[in-house]
Symmetry: C2
Subunit: 356 residues, 2 copies
């Protein structure tokens, strides 16, 4: 399949061509069943085995402990923003949040809407805070490991004396992370590991022991853990796409180390191009720059419309910044190839030569 | 595409072959975008237009009012079981439920877990109650229009002096219904109108006015209505499958009247076969029988293993009853063809001749 466009959408974002071809080829006959994966009961063995395999592959790639619960849920990060405080704290409990961007702020707003005593342990939407003020009696510290809107990322995870909860929606499996340090990790799939409709939640054993009693069962992580993500019908197709992505990451890319090295190379190339540009600049300091979302601005706002038009004509999609920020953003998730970034960097350098 | 199996799964269940072929054919290039529908931003025009078109088609087919909000949410019926009491009642408020089966009971359990004063207005898992005892001060009456596990269906919707809320998960768009009578309707897609991962919720204007204040925004129907089902990333692919199913229903089947007539014919054939059988019987009285889920039992339990084995060999899938009930069940959702039901009826009649 020849693809003429370069997809830099911030999410849902690019999937590898080979993964799309596999999904297409299996669509009307899922592995010899004579059925599509779209029409198989969630209680039938092909779907039960899909859930088991996908969980096992995630465990292997993330280096999870044997007693970590791995859940495939619906509702995106937004449902986790409410489920986390519901599970890990009582209404007036202290909970701490690092406010490092648009989505990190949404998470703490949700905790506030549930009556939690929210403390902002650090706030900076332009860079990752160098230190956090974490309360000793707080139930947990919540961070967003990568901030898609403002283009910052925790390059080194913060030290936390309290349970550390992480929204990894936009960088899960993009780099090697010591997952053993986290009390809870979650990520919706549509950026680095799949398509919209499923959210991966990892709940270690000791965190399960913190869960509040008397929650409605649907909100209680233990309900889904006990049922193997099959308490109610899971989003089967979206889980299937996650499995395809994990297979691609292991078998075609060559594993997480190779993926991280490639992601570093992609980001370095684009940041170098921007730092050398006279017409564009990236406002994020280097120790906070995201490997996944590169934000940049035009020095002269008058150049913006012509850049946008020429980029579209060159097949460069999704370069508009988030509506809350404006400017530009290129998202370099796992499936975005080095060749895509080379085309974008070449385009920016050429634009500089022609208009600079 | 030749399909050698007959899919009677209770859900996720059969999709039409032509719908699967369309999804396959469009998978790597969604309508000339050069992208898959799996990798397009939910803020980009192809997805915004998909949401608008699908909503419009649902409005037309269901005969909805112009100010009814039509939402595409995640979380299945199970999330609606908690969102409905959260939106339409305060913690100690009176709410009434008709307990007509496995899922109807789950819905009322969820309301109880939220501290609502739940009253069972009628309880019968073997037939539809002939009358309900509805409290005058109750916030709403909740019914499940079709009971998948026990094979009963509200053939005539109950009279209700209070707002009527309906779980239509297993019979939405299988028959003509006066949707104007309902204060809220919801259905996850994986039975009659799509695949797992999206739930359609219809919230009329006057019901929006009943919604509690100070709900966390994610749980408030008005949040999703104001954002056109794009408050957070919607389950794009599952919505796309709904659109394909609505197109199939309108263009290939010929609309809802034709669909209902076909569903009546399918169910009548299977019930007639069972009523004529010496080896099997359907325990549901005729005025409560479901057009969607036909449950039946073997008169002699010793016949069960051989029936199951021969059915599997004949490519008849998904005939096992729900694990809470046992026995047999054939689900005849919209996509199940008359030819599938003819094969099943023929198989049962032949089994009768050979073993009866």
């Amino acid at each position: 399949m020849t693809r003429y466009v370069h997809n830099f959408y911030a999410g849902p974002g690019k999937l590898p061509g080979s993964v799309l071809e596999r999904i297409r080829d299996e669509l009307t006959d899922y592995r010899g069943t004579g059925l599509s994966v779209l029409e198989i009961s969630h209680r039938a063995s092909p779907v039960l085995e899909l859930l088991e395999r996908t969980e096992e592959k995630l465990r292997r790639l993330m280096g999870l402990a044997g007693d970590d619960a791995v859940l495939f849920l619906q509702g995106g990060g937004s449902l986790q923003f409410v489920m986390i405080p519901m599970n890990l704290s009582a209404p007036a409990d202290a909970v701490d949040y690092a406010d490092t961007g648009y989505w990190a702020a949404k998470a703490l707003d949700a905790a506030r809407s549930l009556g939690r005593d929210v403390h902002v342990a650090g706030r900076d939407h332009g860079a990752i805070p160098s230190a956090l003020d974490i309360r000793s009696d707080t139930r947990y510290l919540h961070i967003c490991t990568n901030n898609t809107v403002v283009g910052t990322q925790w390059q080194v995870m913060p030290e936390s004396p309290v349970p550390l909860v992480a929204d990894m929606s936009s960088d899960i499996l993009s780099r090697n992370v010591d997952t053993g340090r986290f009390a809870l990790m979650y990520a919706h799939a549509q950026k680095t590991i799949g398509t919209a409709g499923v959210t991966v939640v990892v709940v270690p054993r000791k965190t399960q022991e913190m869960i509040q009693s008397n929650l409605p069962p649907f909100f209680d992580y233990r309900t889904h853990a006990a049922a193997g993500s099959n308490y109610h019908t899971p989003p089967v197709f979206a889980v299937y796409v996650v499995e395809c992505m994990l297979d691609w990451l292991e078998q075609e890319v060559g594993g997480l180390q190779v993926m991280e090295a490639l992601n570093r190379k992609k980001a370095a190339l684009l940041y170098e191009t921007l730092d050398a540009s006279a017409l564009f600049h990236c406002p994020v300091p280097s120790d906070s720059r995201s490997m996944m979302n590169v934000v940049f601005d035009a020095v002269d706002p008058e150049r913006v419309p012509v850049f946008c038009q020429e980029a579209r004509e060159a097949g460069l999609l999704g370069l508009e910044g988030h509506r809350s920020r404006g400017g530009f953003r290129a998202s370099l998730y796992n499936a975005v190839g080095l060749e895509d970034v080379e085309v974008l960097s070449g385009f920016i350098a050429d634009f500089d030569r022609r208009y600079g």
